[in-house]
């Protein structure tokens, strides 16, 4: 029914407004940037700090987004969808971590010999896993631009595989591109939604 569709579009628009701030993009791009820098410089601190930007997501939302566009508790259906998304991401993250451990053990020759395969294809495997995580975000949270980010991320790792360059450079560049888009979105958001006057 057309009227039902209108209410759905109002709900969807409300939900998507909360993604206009670019914060998700910044915290999704910075880890890739730091990871790429770690690969380029061989500096372990970059790998250690690569996950830190993810911790900034909620504090930034609270300080920047909610004071400007308000706070909403979504409908139970939407909340269920969001919770399901986080659970699936957590599962995907855990599986990736387990896969990383298996790959590491394979490299070390502890369980089976993966060395040959990983020496050849490790960049593509990691690129595909990371790109998969971005595509999962795009599907679960209806954030369409994350499909493009998945493509950026995979392209970065693929470039490192195909060309004779330090693979960290294209990986860092793909992360930087995502973070820069996020910063652009954030600046637009700040201009579009100034803090409401007190009173």
């Amino acid at each position: 029914m057309a009227s039902e569709m209108d209410l759905k579009s109002i709900e969807r628009k409300t939900y998507l407004t909360f993604f206009e701030d670019g914060i998700a993009d910044i915290v999704a791009g910075l880890p890739i940037l730091l990871f790429g820098l770690g690969m380029t410089t061989d500096e372990s601190m970059f790998f250690i700090f690569a996950w830190m930007p993810l911790l900034l997501f909620w504090p930034l939302k609270q300080r920047i987004t909610y004071p400007r566009i308000g706070y909403v508790k979504f409908s139970p259906e939407r909340q269920k969808k969001i919770s399901k998304g986080f659970v699936l991401l957590l599962i995907a993250g855990t599986l990736s971590l387990l896969m990383g451990i298996v790959v590491f053990m394979g490299f070390e020759g502890l369980i089976f010999d993966l060395q040959g395969f990983m020496r050849e294809y490790s960049l593509l495997v990691f690129g595909a896993v990371l790109a998969g995580a971005y595509i999962l975000i795009a599907i679960l949270f209806e954030a369409k631009r994350f499909y493009i980010y998945g493509f950026f991320v995979f392209s970065g790792w693929l470039t490192g595989y195909l060309f004779d360059v330090n693979p960290g450079i294209p990986v860092a560049m793909s992360g930087a591109m995502i973070a820069i888009i996020g910063i652009g979105l954030l600046l637009r958001f700040l201009a579009k939604y100034p803090l409401p006057a007190e009173g």
């Binding site: 759905k8 308000g70 706070y71």
Partner: protein, 106 residues
């Protein structure tokens, strides 16, 4: 001349329109609250384009009609005025939409 005491029965839906809802600002508030579980004052000010004073006065009217519930909540230790549609408010908005659909068909 006195008005004719022969009202057109087809106009009845117009007579039955809920006047609390049939006001653009209040209709906007109820429609926005219909699609979410609850929203705070800042959210409603933004989506309805109402000033703080206007929103407050419409909120009071809707609360008096029993259509919305206003509650102070703490979200991450910050006090927020949260508004939620009551089951009566939800039903009233659905009835209003049906009535308007009938009127449009007259």
């Amino acid at each position: 001349m006195p008005a004719s005491a022969d009202p057109n029965p087809r106009m009845e839906p117009i007579e039955n329109l809920d006047r609390v809802i049939h006001e653009p600002a209040r209709l906007k508030i109820l429609t926005q609250l219909y699609v979410v579980d609850s929203g705070d004052f800042t959210y409603l000010m933004r989506v309805t384009g109402l000033t703080r004073g206007n929103l407050s006065s419409h909120m009071t009217k809707l609360e008096e009609a029993g259509y919305i519930k206003i509650k102070k909540e703490f979200v991450d230790r910050k006090p927020l005025t949260m508004l939620r549609l009551t089951p009566d408010g939800r039903k009233a908005l659905e009835t209003y939409r049906k009535t308007m659909a009938k009127i449009i068909r007259i």
